[in-house]
Amino acid sequence: MPVDRPSRARRAALLATLVLAALALAAPLPVRGDRSISFMAWGDPAELTAWSSLVESFRTAQPGIDVELIQVADQSDYRQRLGADLAAGTPADVVLVNYRRMAGFAWRGLLLPLADRLRASEMMDEGAFWPGLLDAYRWRGTLQCIPQNIASLVVYYNRDLLRAAGIADPADDWTWDDLLAMAKALTADTDGDGRTDHFGLGVEPSLMRVAPFVWQHGGEVVNDPLRPNRLGLEGSLAREAVEWFVALQTVHHVVPDAVEEAAEPSEDRFLRGTTALFLNSRRGVPTYRAAAGFDWDVAPLPRDATAANVLHSDGFCIPAATRDADAAWAFVEHATTPEAQAVVAGTGRTVPSLRAVAESDAFLDPSLAPARSRVWLDAIPTIRTFPILPGWVDIEELADEEIERAFYGQVSVEEAIRQAAERTAPFFLAGGDA
């Protein structure tokens, strides 16, 4: 049976269809404004409302520039997406980057330096930011990103649980011992099955969480804060602080163990009302406002020999591969106006990087939880930053693994610290490529 050959006309029609399809795929997508940029940010649904409201306010202020908001739910997905986009040369035009990760991009020349633009800006003034904050975004002396917030670690607490136990709110000058005593008093096996049902405290075992305790005790996280080339946790004061932190789980059992944490993470337990105190930065606020069915507030970190805290901050960065640097800068300028910062602060997500906004009702609104938001501002003079190193993210990841093992009693603190120091040492090298 002979096979029918397609007629010449049908072949031409087929070819034309294919060509049209290819052209349709290659054509640029239609845009709303004359110019179009994209802004990529991360956060859970409650946090992402902050970025949607920022984008909306920019669309109103600058109708000629359309902004596409790219939302990534998870922080580690966001980092990998950002890394892949930057490597592929197709990043969003404005990206949120944590100051601890900024150097890893800056040393490869992936970010557009912003020092000159900030100096020339008529909308922005360097002096309006909290003193010292811009330094966290300088790579080899040049400003790379504009900070959008200046958060730090605080203790969230369930006031209902404290009241029920007859415990007063944590004082502004409470100490490590006060924290431990309170956590012990609030840890209980309520149904007598031999397993703890209410935990006094929840905290993630990581370098970021343990660092302020190390500094408060007089230790150092790196051997030389100015010229670091090794972790500093081997020093005796630092080791004592890590031991105290680890003992919260291994000795006092006021924090869930590895199995309990895997079964139900501490943040979920806090939201469910079965963990009384929870250490987190400002990022918990939108979610807790929406989901916590109890009276809650925040207290400063308890102090030891001194008060100290660790900077939690993201900045608006413009990738060097942006398609429209001027439009991207216009978005960053807008995002850093007092009006826009007030809009974002209103969602609860940020501690504004502009001092005037942070000290206004936009942030301190007494009618919105947490009533003690001022603790973030009071902590600012004690905030320290991690070293600005290209390999810092790798250092933290490796150190976190070791701290977690010690925290869950799988190795001694001494062994964990030794392993952390040895494994992270290569990443302190200049350039960051071990």
Partner: protein, 300 residues
Amino acid sequence: MPDPGRVAALRDPWRRGPWLMLAPWLVGSLLLVGLPALLTLLLSLTAYDGISAPVFTGFDAYRIVARDPLAGRALENTLLFLVAAVPLRIIGALGLALLLERPRRGTGTARVAAWIPAVIPDVAAALVWLWIFNPLLGPVNLLLGALGLPTPGWLADPETARIPFVVMAAAGLGEGFVVLLAALKGIPPEIRSAAALDGAGRVATFRAITLPFLVPWLVVLSIRDTVVALQWTLIPALVMTGGDPYYSTLFLPQAIREEAFDRFRYGPGSALIVLLALVAAAVSVGILLLARGRGVTDAD
């Protein structure tokens, strides 16, 4: 001058047809598999951060990988997973196919139930397994506890964290099950009837007739499952553990992803991909040699 015979052959639709039919697949394979594989091989001989131009460094990336304890850990975890998951999948699929071969009451429902886990997206399945193996609230430990048996920490314990991955992989045996069910249907019934007439019991019939008929299918499935299992862990690991606790569920695909896309080290990342491909090739050749030693050839 072109050979008139060949030109005629090309004009003949019967000769040209198969190539035309194959063309989309061939072009796709070359562009989407062959070319990236070649580029990966070339990248593995370079230092490349995705930004500056790649620098040829010979086998340096392989030396970096060989010295990297985490790469070694990922390879070890991947091999342990492979050795446990692939035989479980094949034996499970074979057992289910034998069990559900003959139509009885409820066979249809049981066949669908065996097939369904294979079509559930990995992300959704991983979330379900995360709950099933939840050390305090999950059904597995609730059942074990009710029976008075020890309740492991599963994904929270470095000693047991890989087991849920193996179980999850084994549960997705639907494709192998369907293939083996079809293969069983392909065995001429008169051969088994004759064996039964000769007084062969079930075990003897299985060993002397059913199994030899199925061996070529089992070989194909083993090779296919090996290749799939080597890559499959990425999504479940990202959803369930992220490689924790302490790298006990760090498998090669995640190690590759982190090396290349998190640390911008495409040279060692590509070297790890080549390593993954070599493992797949070595295991596949091993299975083929084993099968050939048992008298199975392509002619079967």
